[in-house]
């Protein structure tokens, strides 16, 4: 057993938490505390206590009191995960005058009591964990947190309602914001919608004022038709590279008159904004209220770019703003924080061929229907079949398409029930058609949502509970000819039913963006198995990520409706504004440093560092770590053949001591576990 030189002087306090019955239900906490006090006495443990809730004020005061009265020099708390309460106990130590980094929190809840059932084994493992903590803490050093200045600018990726909300909050707070949007205009999915549930206010009417504010705000720089290509640096000081795609329109000259769009001879199906239901030109703004007002030329479809002649837009442009020679531009931004609000993709119902989307003309997706019912959409808000003229007399709305289905996505997409109800109301109001809703469970759990459900029920919409088996045009019974037949098991009536309708709307679920994984990698954050971005804590820190300085807002974190999206946008903004106000942030002082006397100058570490934080001094033939760039991964520490590099917080000594502690090598005599078995098999 190796010990630090000053072992005799160390006085350690061990505190074992019951966490109510969370830990005490599986671990004999009194036994663990008594054991630590007795068996680890020679390792410097002077006091070991157990307490109902260590994190409570009383629990913390107990530790503070012991530090002062017993002169504790180190503290080990055995409770929950350090990701939860490490800061609580460090702060308690600090209040009592002990350097907070001389406190070690070891987990006997997430890693013992909650995952094991055998009380004896769990108690023994807890002792090992405490023993590991005691050995580790002996090697702790008093540290000061690293203070990093926060650059006041913020980058927001994605110009949907989440990004817009966050941008306005931060800009109104007085800090500069860059908002990067891949499409030619901000607005996102919300700009495509007609009405918003449950109040039925027009989406454009409430969204466009916000878009205009973004466009005119002195603190906001909009970068539309642009994509982030590279992210360097760390919290407080990110360097972000943005590719500004060529618009082929000089925005200094363009006045947004849209003559170019009238004159352009090339008409293309608009797969993005019109969800494939309408057309746009090769030079276009996605919609009339687009912000910014400047159009872009879609190079792949532009006759001039493909065939070399045309230039109609250039000829007719009154201000001479068309510039075919524009090139993609690369811009570098300095920002302190980043908010990702990149939204979602609609589940592609072509993946469920028996629902007929793409095969049967009058099967529509929810997004298509949004465009169909939108007054600014391809039919000016007239709800018609795919022939463009016939009004449907009966409409079936299928819920949970691609959601709550283990063949596709297991999760609930949250918005589809309310969206289905909204569609039912709109169809009824505009066409008087009979509307059927096919649902599995009706989920209307938010303010005024269930009232809306009641309203739609009272309007006479029919509800059939059951997952739809198929949508077919194969008529079987009289009255089915020429209709789409929805085959469904009505689980309330316990009957198979065939419902002939004119139009089917698939309330398709939400999915992570198809490039969500690549974007997560670019920004160094993680995705769940489904592909949604993982928040720091699902309940208490829903907009932060594991990566300091990167926040998430809106559907990128999981399916949600507009109110929740706005809430998250504002929440992320508040987190960022708080950071900016503090002007600097305290970071864990986990950094590598090189003992220059021991460094042989082999340079093995130089190439291992992903942040190029290790400099080599040619003159002295030694390497040195730049603490501003070092992120503390410790790879160089592990690799140094001379053992010259040490990592604060995770030094070789700390890890090896913890290892010995966990294996109970610190006990006298027969302490090794499990004693009998070990002796029986000794060679």
């Amino acid at each position: 057993m190796t010990s630090p030189a000053n072992l005799p002087e160390e006085r350690i306090g061990v505190y074992v938490c019951h966490c109510g019955s969370n830990i005490a239900g599986t671990v004999d906490v009194e036994d663990v505390a008594q054991w630590a006090a007795g068996r680890l006495k020679h390792r410097g443990v002077v006091i070991a206590r157990d307490y109902k809730f260590m994190c409570s004020s009383l629990g913390q005061e107990m530790i503070e009191k012991d530090i002062k009265e017993l002169g504790l020099t180190r503290v080990v708390v055995a409770a929950c995960s350090p990701h939860l309460h490490e800061n609580t106990f460090r702060t308690a130590c600090k209040r009592a005058g002990l350097n907070p980094y001389l406190c070690e929190l070891v987990s006997i809840r997430e890693q013992v009591s909650w995952v094991h059932t055998d009380k004896v084994a769990a108690t023994e493992k807890s002792k090992a964990v405490v023993s590991g903590g005691v050995e580790r803490v002996l090697w702790h050093e008093p540290l000061e947190p690293l203070r990093v200045p926060i650059h006041p600018a913020t980058l927001i990726v994605g110009g949907g309602i989440a990004g817009i909300q966050a941008a306005l909050e931060i800009a109104d707070g007085g800090s500069p914001v860059y908002i990067v949007e891949r499409e030619p205009s901000i607005g996102g999915h919300m700009a495509q919608f007609d009405k918003t549930f449950p109040t039925l206010d027009c989406a454009a009417c409430i969204l466009t004022p916000r878009m205009v504010s973004v466009g005119t705000h002195p603190n906001i720089t909009m970068l539309t038709w642009s994509e982030v290509t590279k992210v360097d640096g760390y919290v407080g000081n990110f360097t972000v590279t943005v590719c500004k795609k060529a618009r082929y329109v000089n925005t200094d000259l363009c006045n947004g008159c849209a003559v170019c769009q009238d004159k352009c001879p090339k008409k293309i199906v608009d797969e993005v904004f019109e969800a494939g239901l309408g057309y746009r030109k090769a030079i276009y703004t996605p919609f009339a209220q687009a912000v910014p007002k400047f159009p872009v030329i879609d190079r792949e479809n532009c006759t001039y770019f493909q065939k070399g002649t045309c230039r109609a837009c250039e000829k007719f442009c009154p201000t001479g703003a068309i510039d075919f020679n524009q090139q993609d531009e690369t811009i570098t931004l300095q920002v302190g924080n980043i908010i990702l609000a990149t939204g979602y993709d609609l589940f592609d119902p072509r993946r469920i061929p028996h629902y007929g989307y793409g095969r049967l003309a009058n099967v529509f997706t929810s997004l298509e229907f949004e465009r169909l019912s939108n007054a600014a959409g391809p039919t000016n808000g007239k709800i018609v079949l795919r022939d463009g003229v016939t009004e449907p007399k009966s409409v079936g709305i299928i819920h949970c398409v691609g959601s709550r289905d283990r063949n596709y996505n297991n999760y609930c997409s949250v918005i589809c029930c309310m969206q289905g109800l909204k569609f039912a109301h709109l169809v009824k109001e505009r066409t008087g058609a009979t509307v059927f809703n096919f649902y599995i469970d009706m989920r209307t759990a938010a303010k005024a949502y269930d009232e809306f459900y009641q309203r739609v029920l009272e309007e006479g919409t029919l509800f059939i509970r059951g997952r739809v088996a198929e949508v077919t045009d194969a008529a079987r019974l009289h009255g089915e000819e020429g209709k789409l037949i929805i085959q469904v098991e009505d689980t309330l009536a316990s009957k198979q039913r065939r419902i002939p309708v004119d139009m089917v709307i698939l309330s398709a679920g939400l999915q992570p963006r198809r490039d969500a994984k690549a974007v997560a990698k670019l920004f160094g954050i993680s995705c769940s198995a489904d592909g949604w971005y993982i928040e720091k804590h699902p309940k208490l820190d829903p907009v932060a990520t594991m990566t300091e300085g990167i926040f998430i807002a809106g559907c990128v974190q999981g399916p949600k409706d507009i109110p929740s999206t706005v809430v998250q946008g504002a929440a992320a903004a508040a987190r960022v504004l708080g950071r900016i106000q503090q002007k600097e942030i305290a970071l864990e002082p986990v950094r590598a440093s090189i003992n220059q006397d021991r460094c042989s100058g082999c340079r093995i570490c130089n190439n291992l560092c992903p942040y190029s934080a290790i400099l080599f001094h040619e003159d002295r033939m030694v390497s040195e770590v730049n603490p501003a760039l070092c992120q503390g991964c410790g790879t160089c520490v592990a690799a140094c053949p001379a053992g010259a590099i040490s990592g604060t917080g995770f030094s070789n000594e700390q890890i090896l001591a913890q290892l010995e502690g966990l294996l109970m090598l610190n006990l006298d005599g027969d302490g090794r576990m499990p004693v009998k078995v070990r002796e029986a098999v000794a060679i």
């Binding site: 199906v269 072509r350 989307y357 793409g358 003309a361 194969a474 079987r476």
Partner: protein, 330 residues
């Protein structure tokens, strides 16, 4: 030539003789080397499993055990009959899932000095092998007489695509593999909405009115789509639609005439074989009229000029873009 162990099943020797003849005729152009399992026995069809599980699985597994013993150079068993395929696949799957069942079955097999280790063979349907091993490109290359102008309703029935233990199909509810093969032959393939619906199976014996209704639905839908004929891969389906069409018409007072052929017969035609080499003419609902449309005697039909795409009505809305055919085939 790729070698496969071949399980013909009883139907192919009797009522689905045409399936057998046509399959043998197309093996060569497709590069299939089918080695018949010696001394195979009946798979038990659909009934035995409903009566007693262990003997049913033992009956099926005897074939697997024989195949495993015979396996030289391949571990893939091909069955063209859908009931045989499903039974063999099912027995292998459930024995894998439930070691207890495996034990019981092997105890029974031991009486005949046989043993089968579940999972040691790949049980696959003929269509799966043609699409995924031979490949559509090879099929296209073998075509000398494209079936241009023949409107075909692809009909799989219920037993091949589901329950899809090994995830071999593009979509078990609505697979498009048969469509792809028929398209590769140059046929005009309708998007047949009932492609995986039930043909009635043995209900023709137990409750004929039920079976007639199921048969009528299929034939009605195919005629609504103006199909010249249906193409199937299942002897049971072929039997029901072919042999019971007359009775069905009598029952409902209808006059449907919907020939149904095995897809292998159509492949043979496209590969330039003569109808008599493919068992065409054995069917009860005459397919001559339908086949006359493509002039089977004429070596190659004049390529018809590509139909002009009708101009879209001005106010019409575009249809969603469907993925390329290749994207759908896994």
């Amino acid at each position: 030539m790729t070698k496969y162990l071949y399980y013909p099943g009883c139907s192919l020797e009797t009522n689905a003789r045409a399936y057998y003849i046509s399959l043998m005729a197309i093996c060569e152009p497709l590069g299939l080397d089918l080695e018949e399992i010696h001394d195979w026995n009946c798979c038990g069809a659909t009934e035995y499993v409903g009566i007693s599980l262990t003997p049913a699985y033992a009956l099926i597994s005897r074939n697997l055990a024989l195949a495993a013993k015979q396996a030289n150079g391949t571990r893939t068993v091909v069955a063209p009959c859908s009931a045989c395929y499903l039974n063999l696949a099912k027995a292998d799957y459930y024995m894998r899932e439930s070691p207890k069942l495996g034990e019981k079955v092997n105890k029974a097999l031991a009486a005949g000095d046989l043993h089968y280790t579940p999972g040691s063979l790949d049980v696959r349907h003929l269509l799966d092998v043609i699409v995924h091993d031979v490949g559509l490109d090879a099929v296209r290359r073998a075509v000398v007489r494209p079936l241009s102008g023949l409107r075909v309703a692809p009909y799989l029935g219920c037993m091949v695509p589901r329950p899809d233990y090994e995830h071999r199909w593009s979509n078990p509810e609505y697979p498009n593999e048969l469509d792809q093969v028929l398209k590769a032959l140059g046929a005009e393939v309708i998007d047949f909405p009932l492609k995986t619906h039930c043909c009635g199976g043995h209900m023709t014996q137990i409750g004929p009115p039920v079976a007639y209704e199921l048969i009528r639905r299929l034939i009605h839908a195919a005629s609504e789509y103006q199909a010249d004929l249906m193409a199937t891969l299942c002897p049971m389906c072929q039997l029901n639609i072919d042999a019971y069409q007359g009775e069905m018409n009598h029952f409902f007072g209808t006059y449907y005439h919907m020939p149904i052929l095995f897809f292998t017969q159509l492949m043979g035609l496209a590969f330039g074989k003569e109808p008599q080499e493919l068992g065409i003419g054995k069917e009860l609902v005459d397919s001559r009229l339908a086949l006359a449309r493509i002039g089977v005697e004429v070596p190659e039909a004049e390529a018809a000029p590509a139909p002009r795409r009708p101009r879209k009505a001005k106010e019409g809305l575009p249809m969603p873009r469907m993925p390329e055919e290749k994207e759908l085939i896994r």
